[in-house]
C-alpha cells in the first residue's frame, strides 16, 4: 500500500487569461513536495494534470477525467470559481478529497461546503469585508462600488458593503460592467459626478491594470481614494505603470511580510523558478502543506478518510502568509493585510482584520 504513489489531480488553467495563476499554483505545490524529498508521509506523488481552460462548460468532464478516469486520490483546483463549483460536485459525488488553492466563490465553503472540500485561499467575502472595515476606519462615509458582473465580483462587493455599512458608511451606488469588458470611461464619469468618499472595485488581470490606469488618467486617483481586494494590484503593478502607485488593497498575503517562513519560501521559489512568488503560489504551497498535514496524521493511508479530514480540519498551517487554521466550513481563518502599492510590490501596512473567518452561512456539515 505504501508502495504505490498518491495520485494528485491538478486541474488548473494552462491556457487563457488565468494561465499564469495556474502555473504559479502548480509550481508552488510541487515546490513543497520537493522540499519534502518528493514524498508526503512516506508516499511518493504522481501528478495528473488537466487544463481546465477556465471554462465551466467543460468543467464537469475535466474533473471526471481526473476523478473517474485517473482515479486520483486528491483533486486540486482551480482559479475560476465557476469551474471550481463544478469540480466540487464531482468530488463530492465520489467523495474525493478536493483542495481549492484559489477560487474564492463564497458558496464553496458555504452552501456547497462538504467534508471532502478544503480551501487554502479565501472567500471573495474575506478581503472585501476587511477592506470595508478598513475604509470606515479611515473615516469614509460614502462609497461607490464597481465590478465585473459575475459571481466573484458581486460577492466581493457584498462583503465590502456589509462591513462598510456596519461601520456606519453608505454605499451610494453599485456599478457593474459585463465581464470581461474593459471600457470604464462612462463609470469614471459617473463616479466623478457622484463624488463619493471612496471607491471600491473588484478587477483582476488585464482589466485591473486597465482600470487603474484609466482611474489615474481621469484624475480621480488624487481626489477619490480607490480600494480593492488585492487582486487589483497583484501581478499587475508593472502593467499599470505609475498608475498603481500607492493603491490600497486588502488581501491575505502581502510582499515583505517579516516572517521566516515567507522569506524561506520566497527564496526557494525564486531559486527554482527564476521569478518571485505571488499570492497564488502561496495558496498552492499551502494546499500541499494541508495535504501533508492530513497524510501525516494517517501515516499516508488515504483510506482513513475521516481521520485524515479531521486532522486537516484542525491543522495549523505555517503559511508564508502567517499561520492559519481552518474554519468549521474548511476555509482559512486568516489575517487580512492592508497593503499599499509601491513600485511593483504590495507591502503590508498593517492588518485590516485579524484572524478573519468567513461566516460560512448555509454550510451544513
Amino acid at each position: 500500500q505504501a508502495a504505490d504513489p498518491i495520485k494528485v489531480g491538478m486541474m488548473l488553467p494552462a491556457t487563457g487569461t488565468y494561465a499564469k495563476l495556474g502555473s504559479a499554483i502548480d509550481n508552488a505545490f510541487k515546490l513543497y513536495v520537493e522540499e519534502q524529498g518528493g514524498t508526503l508521509a512516506g508516499r511518493s506523488i504522481e501528478y495528473h494534470a488537466v487544463d481546465d481552460e477556465s471554462d465551466p462548460a467543460k468543467a464537469t468532464e475535466n474533473a471526471n477525467r481526473l476523478v473517474v478516469r485517473d482515479g486520483v486520490d486528491v483533486l486540486v483546483g482551480t482559479v475560476h470559481s465557476g469551474v471550481a463549483l463544478a469540480m466540487a460536485r464531482v468530488a463530492k459525488q465520489r467523495d474525493t478529497l478536493f483542495l481549492v488553492p484559489n477560487a474564492g466563490a463564497d458558496d464553496l465553503t458555504r452552501a456547497q461546503c462538504s467534508p471532502n472540500l478544503f480551501r487554502t485561499s479565501f472567500t471573495n467575502w474575506q478581503p472585501a469585508y476587511a477592506m470595508g472595515k478598513a475604509a470606515t476606519g479611515m473615516g469614509h462615509k460614502t462609497a461607490v462600488t464597481l465590478t465585473w458582473k459575475y459571481a466573484a465580483g458581486l460577492e466581493a462587493v457584498n462583503g465590502f458593503k456589509q462591513a462598510f455599512e456596519e461601520g456606519g458608511g453608505k454605499v451610494v451606488k453599485e456599478l457593474t460592467t459585463p465581464f470581461p469588458g474593459v471600457e470604464f470611461q462612462s463609470f469614471l464619469t459617473e463616479i466623478a459626478a457622484l463624488k463619493p468618499d471612496a471607491v471600491y472595485v473588484f478587477f483582476a488581470g488585464g482589466g485591473a491594470a486597465k482600470f487603474a490606469k484609466d482611474y489615474a488618467a481621469a484624475g480621480l486617483k488624487d481626489s477619490v481614494p480607490l480600494y480593492s481586494s488585492g487582486f487589483l494590484t497583484d501581478g499587475t503593478l508593472g502593467a499599470m505603470g505609475g498608475a498603481g502607485e500607492g493603491l490600497i488593497t486588502a488581501l491575505h498575503y502581502a510582499d515583505g511580510l517579516d516572517n521566516a517562513k515567507d522569506k524561506a519560501f520566497r527564496a526557494a521559489y525564486q531559486a527554482k523558478y527564476g521569478m518571485p512568488p505571488d499570492v497564488y503560489a502561496v495558496q498552492g504551497y499551502d494546499a500541499a502543506q494541508l495535504l501533508h498535514a492530513g497524510l501525516k496524521a494517517v501515516g499516508g493511508d488515504m483510506s482513513k478518510k475521516a481521520e485524515m479530514r479531521a486532522a486537516m480540519r484542525s491543522a495549523t498551517i505555517e503559511s508564508p502568509r502567517g499561520n492559519f487554521t481552518l474554519s468549521s466550513s474548511h476555509n482559512p481563518v486568516q489575517d487580512i493585510y492592508l497593503r499599499k502599492a509601491s513600485g511593483e510590490e504590495n507591502p503590508s501596512t498593517g492588518i485590516a482584520a485579524k484572524a478573519l473567518a468567513d461566516p460560512g452561512t448555509g454550510c451544513k456539515m
Binding site: K20, S186, E190, A192, V224, A239
Partner: protein
C-alpha cells in the same frame, strides 16, 4: 445626470466609438472589402499590442515602435496570405472560418510560449501623457483624444483608398469575381496579398496605439473580435463610412447602456445590432 456629466458622457461615447473603429479598421478592409472572414483579426490586434510592449521596452518610444512595427506586420500579413489564405479564395467562405480559428489557437499559444502569460503595460508617450481637466473632479487623458484624431484620419484614408482609388475598385471587383479581374490584366494575387497585409498592419497598428490605454494581456484579442465584426456588419459590409457610423452607434449604445440600463449593459450592444439589422437587413449603409 446633470448637463456637464451628460456632455462628458457624450464625449466618452464618441471617443469610445472612434476607438472601436480603430480596432475594427483592419477588418473593414479584410472582411468588408476583400470578403475574407477573418476570425484571427483579434490575434493580429493582440500581436500589435505585444509588439508595442516588446519594442517599447527596447526602444523606449512608442512612435519608433510603430515605425518598426508596421513593416513587420506588413511582412507578416503578406507571408500569411501567401502561405495560407491564397489557397482558399475559390473555396467555400466558411473554410476561412476554420482556418482563422486554427490560427487563433496557434497565435495564442505562441504568444504564451514566447512572451508568457503576464499582464504588461505600455507607457503613454511622454508628449501625450497629460490630462485636460473637464470638471472639478474629472479630467480627460490627452492620449485618448490623440487616438480619436488618428482614427478620423484613418477613416478618411481608408475611404479614399477604397472608394476613390483604382486600387480600391480593383479590390472590390476582386471580391466578386477574381477570374474576371485577372482577365482584365490585373494581378489579383499580388493585389490581394498587399491589401491583406495592409489589413493585418492596420489591426496591429490598432493594437499598438491602444496598448498604452488598454494594457497588454492574454486573451485580449478575443475581446475585440466580435465587436469588430459587429461594427463592420451593421455599418453595411464594404462601407467605410458605415463602419464609422456603426462604431459611433455602438459607442453610444455601450456608454449610455451602462448609464441608463446598468442591469442590461451586456445586452445593449447585441440588442442594438439586432434592431439595426431588422430595421435595415443590409446594414446602415448598403453597399453601393
Amino acid at each position: 445626470m446633470d448637463f456637464t456629466t451628460f456632455l462628458i458622457q457624450l464625449l466618452n461615447a464618441v471617443q469610445y466609438g472612434l476607438l472601436l473603429f480603430l480596432v475594427a479598421s483592419g477588418l473593414t478592409l479584410v472582411f468588408g472589402i476583400m470578403g475574407i472572414i477573418n476570425l484571427a483579426h483579434g490575434s493580429f490586434y493582440m500581436l500589435g499590442a505585444y509588439m508595442a510592449f516588446v519594442l517599447t521596452s527596447m526602444t523606449g518610444n512608442l512612435l519608433l515602435t510603430i515605425l518598426i512595427g508596421i513593416p513587420l506586420a506588413l511582412a507578416f500579413g503578406a507571408a500569411l496570405e501567401a502561405l495560407l489564405f491564397t489557397h482558399l479564395y475559390k473555396r467555400n467562405h466558411l473554410d476561412q472560418v476554420l482556418l482563422t480559428y486554427g490560427l487563433i489557437l496557434i497565435f495564442e499559444e505562441l504568444r504564451s510560449l514566447t512572451v508568457g502569460d503576464d499582464v504588461h503595460g505600455v507607457p503613454v508617450p511622454e508628449m501625450f501623457s497629460m490630462s485636460i481637466p473637464l470638471s472639478d473632479t474629472l479630467s480627460y487623458p490627452v492620449y485618448r483624444l490623440v487616438i480619436s484624431a488618428v482614427c478620423l484620419l484613418l477613416a478618411l484614408g481608408l475611404y479614399l483608398l477604397i472608394q476613390r482609388t483604382r486600387l480600391g475598385m480593383m479590390i472590390r471587383a476582386g471580391s466578386h469575381d477574381r477570374d474576371m479581374v485577372q482577365a482584365l490584366g490585373i494581378n489579383i494575387n499580388g493585389l490581394y496579398r498587399t491589401v491583406f497585409a495592409i489589413g493585418v498592419a492596420l489591426a496591429a497598428l490598432a493594437g499598438m496605439l491602444a496598448a498604452p490605454i488598454s494594457s497588454v494581456y492574454p486573451g485580449m484579442g478575443g475581446g475585440v473580435l466580435i465587436i469588430s465584426f459587429v461594427i463592420v456588419v451593421i455599418g453595411g459590409i464594404g462601407s467605410v463610412w458605415g463602419a464609422l457610423v456603426a462604431a459611433l452607434v455602438i459607442g453610444f449604445a455601450d456608454t449610455f447602456g451602462k448609464v441608463f440600463m446598468p442591469d442590461m449593459a451586456g445586452l445593449t450592444v447585441y440588442l442594438v445590432m439586432a434592431l439595426v439589422l431588422l430595421w435595415r437587413p443590409e446594414g446602415i449603409f448598403r453597399k453601393g
